[in-house]
C-alpha cells in the first residue's frame, strides 16, 4: 500500500473514531418514560492502488461525509429503537424496532451496498479478423487450414458493479384478550441493479469466437409472507405462507452470431448446418422471471418425561415464467428429543422426507444438415424430452446423543443415514441412488472457567455419490470415423469413466482450544484435517487447517482481533482429453 494511502486511511479512521466518541448523546428520564438520542458525524475516505474488485469488493471508494443516528425511547410498555448509518450514497443502512404495548410489534431493517464483480480481460488474439477452420488436410497430407481462437472484449477497462439493496419488514399482532394467537406478516424486498460482465460464444468451430459484453442487471425479488402462531397448553403451532416474485426488468439483449468462414463453399454448408444461429442476431443471457409459493406448518409439543416433539411440513411450488415449467416440493420433518438420567443424557431422533417433482420439457431441435455432411446425415434427429435432475425422493434418519460425564465434560455422538433416490439421472453408471452414512463423535470440555476445548471426528461413507456418470474417456474402438456418424459415436454412453468431486469416504478431525483470561479477551488455537477419496472415480483430497486467533475488547464498541491461519488444500483427479469433443 502506498504511504500516502496509508496516511489517508489512518487519518480517516482517527476522524471517524473520535467523531463517534464525541458524538452528541442526550438522555432524559421522567416518570414512566426514558429516551436516548445519539448523533454522530465524520468523514469517510478510501483509496485503492489495486484492482478494486480484489481489494474493495464491497466497499464504496472515494470520500463522503458520514453520519450516525440512534434513538431509543421507552414509554411504559411501549418501546422504539431507531438506528441509521450513512457512509456514502451507495453504502448506508438503518433499522427500526417498534413495540406498542406488546400488542403491535414491528421491525424493519434496510441495507445498501456495492458489489464489484470481475472483468475478465480475455485472451487477446493479435491476429484479428483472420479466421480459419479445423485442420483440413489435402489428399497428399499437407495441412491446408488450422483453427484460430478469438476473443473480443466489447467494453475494455469498464468497471462492473452491482448495487444491492435489501429491505425487510416484519410485524406481529397479539390481541390481549386472546393472547394464545399471534398474527405475523412480513415483506422482503431485494433490488439488484448495475452491470456485470457476460461472455458468449458467437461462433463454434468456424470460428471459435468469444465476446465479452456488459450485462445490464435490474432485478427485484419480493417476498410477501403472512401467518399465525397458536399456543395452546404445551403445544405451539405456526403457519406461514410466502409468495416470492423474482422480476428481471433488464431489457432483452441481442448479439450477432458469426457467419461460418471456411473459404470453401461445401465446407461452409457443412458447418452452417451444425449451428442453430449463423450470421444472424440472437437473444443472449436470458434470466427468466420466476415465482415461488411456500406453505410452512410447524408444530411443537412439550410432553411429559422431558420430551419434546417437533414437526414441520413444507409445500412449495416454483415456476419459471419463461418456459412455464413447475417444480413441486414437499418436505416432512419430525424430531423427538428426550432427556434421561436427570438430564445427563439427551437423545434426539429425527426423520426427514423430501419429495420433488418437476415438469418435463419437450425440446424440439431445428435440424438442417447439409445432405453431404459426413458426420451428421440429414436423417438425424436431436429432439428430446428433458427430464429434470431435481426429481427425487429423499429420506434422512438421524440419531443424536449427548452424555454429560460431569459439569466439565460432554460426549457427543451422532449417526445419520441419508438416501437420495433420483428419478431421472445416473450419478454413477446405471445407478441413480446415493446412500450416505455419517458418524459424528465429539468431546466438549471446560476444565475451568478460563479454558474450553473441543475434539470432534466425523466419518462419512457414501455409496454412489453425486457425479457425472460416463463423464469422460471415449471408447476408442467405437470411433469408426467415416463409417459411423459422429452422432452415434461421441455420446456419453460411449464414455468409460464416471467422474466426480464427491468422496466415497471422508474423515474429518477438528481440534480447538480457547483460553479466556477475562471476558473481554480470548486466545484460540485450532487444527483441522480432512481426507476424502473416491476409488471408483479416482478422486482424492486432503485439507489441513491450523491457526491461532487473539481477540480483545478493551471497552464497549471497540474490539481488536489478530490471527494467523494456514490452510492447505490438495485435490487429485484424472484429467481426460477425449479424441474429439467439439
Amino acid at each position: 500500500m502506498r504511504r500516502s494511502t496509508l496516511i489517508l486511511l489512518v487519518a480517516a479512521v482517527f476522524i471517524c473514531v473520535t467523531s463517534l466518541g464525541t458524538a452528541f448523546a442526550g438522555e432524559k428520564k421522567s416518570a414512566g418514560k426514558a429516551y436516548r438520542l445519539k448523533v454522530g458525524a465524520g468523514f469517510y475516505s478510501t483509496s485503492t492502488d489495486d484492482n478494486k474488485t480484489n481489494v474493495a469488493e464491497y466497499d464504496d471508494t472515494g470520500g463522503s461525509p458520514t453520519g450516525l443516528f440512534g434513538y431509543t425511547g421507552s414509554f411504559g410498555k411501549s418501546f422504539i429503537d431507531m438506528n441509521a448509518r450513512y457512509t456514502t450514497s451507495d453504502d448506508n443502512a438503518g433499522d427500526v424496532n417498534l413495540d406498542i404495548n406488546r400488542v403491535f410489534r414491528f421491525k424493519m431493517d434496510y441495507n445498501k451496498f456495492i458489489h464489484r464483480t470481475r472483468h475478465d480481460s480475455l485472451f487477446y488474439d493479435s491476429v484479428s479478423g483472420h479466421r480459419v477452420v479445423n485442420p483440413i488436410f489435402s489428399s497428399d497430407g499437407h495441412l491446408e487450414g488450422a483453427q484460430v481462437w478469438q476473443y473480443t472484449d466489447q467494453q475494455p477497462g469498464k468497471n462492473y458493479q452491482i448495487y444491492r439493496q435489501l429491505t425487510r419488514m416484519n410485524a406481529k399482532v397479539t390481541v390481549p384478550s386472546f393472547p394464545a394467537l399471534t398474527f405475523h406478516a412480513g415483506w422482503r424486498n431485494e433490488v439488484r441493479h448495475g452491470w456485470k460482465q457476460g461472455t458468449v460464444m458467437t461462433g463454434k468451430c468456424t470460428p471459435c469466437h468469444v465476446v465479452g459484453y456488459g450485462n445490464r442487471i435490474n432485478q427485484t425479488t419480493n417476498d410477501l409472507s403472512g401467518g399465525a402462531t397458536l399456543k395452546v397448553g404445551v403445544v405451539t403451532v405456526d403457519y406461514n405462507y410466502t409468495h416470492r416474485k423474482f422480476d428481471n426488468d433488464a431489457s432483452t439483449q441481442m448479439i450477432h452470431y458469426d457467419p461460418v468462414v471456411t473459404h470453401n463453399a461445401p465446407r461452409d454448408a457443412i458447418f452452417s448446418g451444425r449451428l442453430s444461429i449463423v450470421n444472424a442476431d440472437g437473444i443472449r443471457n436470458l434470466i427468466p422471471d420466476s415465482k415461488k409459493d411456500t406453505h410452512v406448518v410447524k408444530a411443537r409439543a412439550d410432553l411429559p418425561g422431558e420430551t419434546t416433539a417437533y414437526g414441520s411440513f413444507v409445500c412449495t411450488t416454483m415456476e419459471d415464467d419463461y418456459n412455464d415449467l413447475d417444480v413441486n416440493q414437499h418436505v416432512y420433518n419430525l424430531r423427538l428429543t428426550k432427556d434421561f438420567m436427570n438430564r445427563r443424557l439427551t437423545l434426539s431422533g429425527r426423520f426427514r422426507y423430501i419429495d420433488i417433482n418437476s415438469d418435463d420439457a419437450q425440446v424440439t431441435v431445428d435440424e438442417h444438415f447439409a445432405s453431404f455432411d459426413p458426420a451428421y446425415p440429414a436423417s438425424d434427429n436431436f429432439d428430446f424430452v428433458r427430464k429434470s435432475a431435481i426429481d427425487r425422493n429423499e429420506y434422512t434418519v438421524n440419531l443424536d446423543g449427548a452424555y454429560r460425564l460431569n459439569r466439565c465434560t460432554t460426549f457427543r455422538v451422532g449417526y445419520e443415514y441419508d438416501d437420495i433416490d433420483r428419478d431421472n439421472i445416473d450419478v454413477t453408471s446405471g445407478e441413480k441412488e446415493t446412500k450416505t452414512h455419517t458418524v459424528k463423535l465429539a468431546v466438549n470440555g471446560r476444565p475451568s472457567m478460563k479454558w474450553k476445548y473441543r475434539v470432534a471426528y466425523t466419518y462419512k461413507n457414501i455409496s454412489d455419490p453425486f457425479g457425472h456418470a460416463n463423464g469422460s474417456c471415449q471408447r476408442v474402438e467405437n470411433l469408426g470415423i467415416g463409417t459411423t456418424p459422429y452422432s452415434n459415436v461421441f455420446i456419453e454412453e460411449n464414455r468409460l469413466q464416471d467422474r466426480t468431486n464427491q468422496p466415497e469416504s471422508s474423515h474429518l478431525i477438528k481440534l480447538s482450544a480457547t483460553y479466556t483470561p477475562k471476558t473481554s479477551m480470548s486466545i484460540n488455537g485450532l487444527f483441522q484435517y480432512e481426507h476424502q477419496n473416491n476409488d471408483h472415480s479416482n478422486f482424492d483430497a486432503d485439507r489441513y487447517m491450523a491457526g491461532v486467533n487473539f481477540w480483545f475488547m478493551p471497552m464497549k464498541m471497540l474490539s481488536f482481533s489478530l490471527g494467523y491461519n494456514f490452510e492447505y488444500d490438495r485435490y487429485g483427479n484424472y484429467v481426460c482429453t477425449d479424441l474429439f469433443a467439439g
Partner: protein, 329 residues
C-alpha cells in the same frame, strides 16, 4: 383448486387439530403447563415481586425495565412476569440477606452448585416455544451444551438487544475456523458488516443442520440468488443437487466462492475439449502452424467464458448435434 393445494390444506387442518387436542388433553389433566423440567426452586420460597428485588438491586431492576423482558405483558409469561419468572421465587434469598445460594443464578452455569446448561435453557424455553426457538431441543448447539446465556445477556442496554456482542464476533468466539475462511479473497460480505451469520444460519435450531430453511440447502441460497432458481429448460445437474458441490459459502481463495479455480473444478466431472491445432500469436508463427500452447491458453482458462450460463438456461446453445445443452447462451 389444485390437488396439491387441497392436500396442503388437509395437512394443515390435521396438524392444527392434533395440536389442539393434545394441548387440551394436557391442560385438562391438570399438569403444569411447563413440561420441561425447571431447576429445583428454593424450598419454601415464595414470590415477592420485582419491587422487592429493587431494594438491593436498584440499578439492575431499573435497567431491566427498559429491556424487552422487562416490558413483557403478564399474559406472555408463564407464571409471574418480572425477575422471579427466571430467577425463581425470592423470599428465602431476601430473608437470608441476599445469600446467592438461595436464588437461581445464571452467572455460575456449569459451576459446582450452579445450574446446568440444560436447566438454564429450560427456564428460557418455558416461554420461548415459538418463533426461532421452536426446534431448540436436539439442535447442534443444545447437544453441544451451548445454553441461552452463553450468547444472550438479559440485563443490558435495551439498545443493544439481548446478544452479548454483535455478530459475527459473537459466533467467532467458538467458530474461529469460519473467521479465517471469511478473510479469504472471495467471501460473503460478513466482515464488511453487510451480512450476518444469522442471515443464513438458524442458531436456535432447524430441520437442516442449523440452516435457516425447512427445505433443502439450495433453497436457502435461492432466497438471495433467485435468478438461479429456474426451473430451466437446460439444467446443470449439480445446481439442482447442492450448491456446495462447487461453492463454499464461508469463503474461498478462488473467485465466486468456488472451491477451486476453473477449469480444474469443472475437469473433476467433465473431460477437456480437444482441438487439433490453435494459432499462437506469441510465437509469431504462420497462422496455419499448430501450437499446443494455444490449446492450453484457450481451453485452460475459464470454462465459463463459453459456458457462461452454468447455473442453467432457457435458451439453446449453438450446436444442433448437442441439442442445445451446452449452456453457452
Amino acid at each position: 383448486m389444485k390437488r396439491s393445494t387441497i392436500q396442503t390444506l388437509m395437512m394443515l387442518v390435521l396438524i392444527v387439530s392434533v395440536a389442539m387436542v393434545m394441548g387440551t388433553c394436557a391442560s385438562m389433566k391438570g399438569k403444569s403447563k411447563a413440561m420441561i423440567k425447571m431447576p429445583v426452586a428454593i424450598k419454601g420460597a415464595t414470590y415477592e415481586g420485582s419491587n422487592a428485588c429493587a431494594d438491593c438491586h436498584e440499578d439492575l431492576v431499573k435497567a431491566f425495565k427498559g429491556t424487552i423482558h422487562g416490558r413483557i405483558a403478564d399474559y406472555e409469561a408463564r407464571g409471574k412476569a418480572g425477575c422471579e419468572s427466571c430467577h425463581g421465587p425470592g423470599s428465602v434469598h431476601i430473608e437470608n440477606e441476599g445469600d446467592t445460594s438461595k436464588i437461581i443464578r445464571f452467572t455460575n452455569v456449569r459451576d459446582q452448585g450452579g445450574i446446568s446448561p440444560g436447566e438454564a435453557s429450560a427456564i428460557c424455553l418455558q416461554c420461548h416455544t415459538d418463533g426461532t426457538t421452536m426446534d431448540w431441543r436436539g439442535n447442534e448447539h443444545a447437544l453441544n451444551d451451548v445454553t441461552c446465556v452463553d450468547c444472550h445477556k438479559i440485563h443490558q442496554d435495551p439498545a443493544k438487544g439481548t446478544l452479548k456482542m454483535a455478530e459475527p464476533e459473537l459466533c467467532y468466539q467458538c467458530h474461529a475456523d469460519i473467521r479465517a475462511k471469511e478473510n479469504y479473497p472471495s467471501h460473503h460480505p460478513v466482515r464488511e458488516g453487510k451480512m450476518k451469520c444469522s442471515d443464513c444460519h438458524e442458531n436456535h435450531g432447524s430441520s437442516l443442520h442449523n440452516l435457516k430453511t425447512e427445505e433443502r440447502s439450495r433453497d436457502l441460497c435461492l432466497k438471495c440468488h433467485a435468478d438461479k432458481q429456474g426451473p430451466f429448460t437446460y439444467e446443470h445437474a449439480p445446481v439442482m443437487e447442492d450448491c456446495t458441490i462447487c461453492h463454499d459459502p464461508h469463503g474461498t481463495v478462488a473467485d465466486n466462492l468456488l472451491k477451486q479455480n476453473e477449469p480444474f473444478l469443472c475437469l473433476q466431472c467433465h473431460h477437456l475439449h480437444f482441438h487439433a491445432t490453435f494459432f499462437s500469436p506469441h510465437n509469431g508463427q504462420n497462422p496455419i502452424t499448430p501450437n499446443s500452447h494455444s490449446s492450453q491458453m484457450a481451453m485452460g482458462t475459464r470454462c465459463t467464458e463459453c459456458h457462461s450460463q452454468i447455473h442453467g438456461s432457457d435458451l439453446p446453445s449453438l450446436s444442433v448435434p448437442g441439442a442445445g445443452k451446452a449452456l453457452t447462451r
